[in-house]
């Protein structure tokens, strides 16, 4: 039986999907700007964040409105509350893309420190994790959500490799590289944080689908 609320839940899902697409785009562009030393692209990431912030507020409002008007229960309730949390995670991801863009602006005028190899790889992991987590939300796919959780350790490893290389091969050997190396170090840290937010989304999806809290309970994932 199609209920009146179903249409509104569908619209909410579409809005969250849109938030996901915007956040993914922001990550992609922020790292493209870094790779291509593209000041305009970095600025566009920063400028576009206002639209993402606005959509976040709209989605939040929609969720509160649905709760107030329909007093949802069971899976509807879990869908809406999870939607609210995912919305906040995506907004944070977009903010981190802005952080990356700001670091990029610091670097574009300075000489290239090193060819970027691992940062783009970490970016791909982060983008995939965000994409998979949103897909898992849209499809209610537990297996996909669990796949996101498994990817997080790979992201941590990449961050560690990047950090080690920047510190040992550059900052320790030549202190003059520190200002640039620190920016790259921060970017690696930011990308890894994006992966953490994708992990949170995946954990929320697992709660939404099977009403089980796996956050802070790794044993439940075995």
């Amino acid at each position: 039986m199609e209920r009146h609320v179903d249409q509104e839940l569908k619209e909410l899902k579409e809005d969250i999907l849109k938030m996901g697409a915007l956040a993914e785009e922001a990550i992609f562009k922020s790292v493209e700007a870094l790779k291509n030393r593209d000041r305009e692209m970095a600025k566009s990431v920063i400028d576009h964040d206002v639209a993402i912030d606005k959509l976040e507020l709209d989605v939040d409002e929609k969720c509160i409105d649905l709760i107030a008007r329909y007093q949802p229960m069971a899976r509807d309730l879990r869908f809406i509350t999870t939607g609210m949390k995912i919305n906040a995670e995506l907004e944070r991801i977009a903010d981190i893309a802005v952080d990356i863009a700001q670091r990029t602006l610091e670097l574009v005028d300075k000489p290239i420190l090193k060819p970027l190899i691992d940062i783009p790889k970490l970016t791909t992991i982060a983008q995939n994790m965000v994409k998979m987590s949103i897909d898992a939300f849209v499809k209610g796919d537990i297996l996909l959500a669990k796949k996101v959780l498994l990817s997080d350790s790979e992201a941590n490893q990449f961050r560690d490799v990047i950090q080690r290389e920047l510190i040992e091969d550059y900052m320790v050997k030549d202190a003059s590289t520190a200002p640039r190396a620190v920016q790259l170090l921060l970017i690696a840290r930011f990308l890894e944080r994006i992966c953490d937010h994708a992990t949170n989304i995946a954990e929320d999806v697992i709660y939404m689908v099977q009403a089980e809290v796996v956050r802070h309970h790794p044993e439940k994932l075995k």
């Binding site: 039986m1 209920r3 609320v5 007093q71 949802p72 229960m73 069971a74 899976r75 309730l77 009403a211």
Partner: protein, 252 residues
Amino acid sequence: MSFKIITKNLNLWYGGFHALKNINSGFEANRITAIIGPSGCGKSTMLRVFNRMNDLIDGVRTQGEVLIDRVNILDSGVDLVALRKKVGMVFQRPNPFPLSIYENIIFGEKIHGEHIIRDKLDEIVEKSLKDVLLWDELKDKLNEPALRLSLEQKQRLCIARLIAIRPDVLLMDEPCSTLDPQATARVEELMRELKNKYTIIIVTHNMQQAARVSDDTGFMLLGELVEFGRTDQVFKAPLDQRTEDYITGRYG
């Protein structure tokens, strides 16, 4: 876990109609249990089994056991007057007697008790009205007709009338369905107060009320007790798809 009421393989027929189908359940003491389900699912019938109100209907046949404090109340030798004193009922529409407020409250005591002195009756009236949070409002109007009270006050008075005869179990059949939201909230608050002393079972169509007020919830459908569990679990993550469909409005 102490069960005040236990049903074992409980079946009930109205003539040829099988109204309760093999109900196995346990109601804990000092908790509020809500029974929800669509019209005709058997929830009021189940409530009425607990003080054998269904006996008043022709052609009713019951099978199985209903243990209250480990005594099977379906046994033929059970004293129904004593049972209904122990297991009281509040109905959808408040039904005070056309007597004074005072007389309403001591009505049960006068029927059940013998030669109770006036001071003792005064004490019962005061305590019962205090228990339902009506004492301050009504202490100076005890001789006024109960029928002049507001709907909410009447419903509270009916609860006070029950409490006066010191039951263990309060059965409530849609006790707020005729009340406005404010009065409903106050009666719900009263229920929370009362559960410290009584075992409360409420039948309600209002799912939000069940979610707000109860500790445990049972969902009934077509005479079956489909699901029975802690209220937060039933409303957040029901185990049975039929419960899910009902509480999210997909049923039917």
